[in-house]
Symmetry: C2
Subunit: 275 residues, 2 copies
Amino acid sequence: MAGTDHTKADLAAALPEGPAIVLVQPQLAENVGSVARAMANFGLTDLRVVQGRADVRSETAIAFSAGADYVLAQAQVFDTLEEAVADLTLLFATTARERGQAKPVDAPDAAAGRLVAHGAGGGRAGVLFGRERTGLDNDEVALASRVVTFPVNPAYASLNLAQAVLLVGYEWFKAATGGAPAFAMPPRSPEASQAEAIAFYRHLEGELDEAGFFRSADKRASMVRNLRNMIHRMEPTKQDLQTLHGVVTALVEGRPGPEGRTRNVLKPLKDEGQG
Amino acid sequence: MAGTDHTKADLAAALPEGPAIVLVQPQLAENVGSVARAMANFGLTDLRVVQGRADVRSETAIAFSAGADYVLAQAQVFDTLEEAVADLTLLFATTARERGQAKPVDAPDAAAGRLVAHGAGGGRAGVLFGRERTGLDNDEVALASRVVTFPVNPAYASLNLAQAVLLVGYEWFKAATGGAPAFAMPPRSPEASQAEAIAFYRHLEGELDEAGFFRSADKRASMVRNLRNMIHRMEPTKQDLQTLHGVVTALVEGRPGPEGRTRNVLKPLKDEGQG
């Protein structure tokens, strides 16, 4: 989806420092590239890789990063997991299944709250992601202080590496920024006043009376309430009500009246003999 | 990441019906396949495609679905968007930027709450996703009653099609299931009682007194409090405390005492003459 705005780099620079994303022996450069892209989407920049088969700086990784090659360029590559996480003071392990370790388990949103709080307190956090097929081994999980796992369809729980990073990045970004959408409904013309709304109700209801729309006084009361509620739910602006007045007028004037007016906009105007 | 359990299909079947995922003229079969995979991760099955260049049943799409080809097999393909959404009673449009339309804008989590509530009320909801490069056009957005957009790094907002579907699916699944992690910390042996904890404190502190660990009575009080708080934060079980008693005992007995005991476990045991 389009929408990157490179002039907004200042806004991105105002993000707090996010957690390190630590990939343990990734096998496919495609996945490392996709991870870099997912990190960039959510303002994460600290990629650490415990060397596996994937070449972090390969052309394939760069192609899959889709413009987030700056994340790959500054990625750090380590021989061992211990070196990769040496400076971190809070470490999560991502696992898709229970590992029999007496370690607290968080959903990604709860983990994100901890990551943001830890960063705000001056700590340096990271999240471990295992190999594509086999994940993290038990000793690697044991290095972490907490586990994060993803609520997924148990019948199809296979989440790929970049998707797992994407969800952690997304929740971290939500927690770090309050999760407000990137834009809101555009400002509209001023809201209509009650008096303006009532004036429109009277216009509409008068014309409907005229047209014999209400079958009985009894039904009229409840139908009027329904119509007014529909308009209320629309939260009309002054401009909206002017438009609606125009709509009602146009419909009325286009309607063949008792005098035989035929200015119905749906029919071509013909010069028929009128009484 | 591994973890799919096909015997859990029953659990998946208990999910409420999720929203339709409506792709408008996707161009790449790779993306359609990846969308199917992301849907399967979160129990979504109703894929609708307004025909673009991508062939929904192609081998490429099936390969990228990574086992979620059942989603592709039952996908519906339409000539027009109007046909694709005809039966839906709540429709969201995903857009990455403000479109100047007077339409409420939700973040994915808020949108997910509405989708779940709408489904629970018997309605049928859907989410529109636009073309890879150009998104939805303004008339397509106008068909929807609300907009959903993603909180992303403004400096790198390019979210690919399958990632956007993944985030909607993830938030829907969280909202539909309560978002609890798929597993928790394994059940542990029963929590220790206060009496057991205090017995351990006394054991530890007595040995530390013996070892001259505390420099002064003044420092002792605050150090004891710190040690006790550390043990508290560990939330020890009965079993944990037994282990810790054993650790303290082992450390003490392995320590060379004033009598010259040398049963330090770090050194090989030697038959040295003892007093």
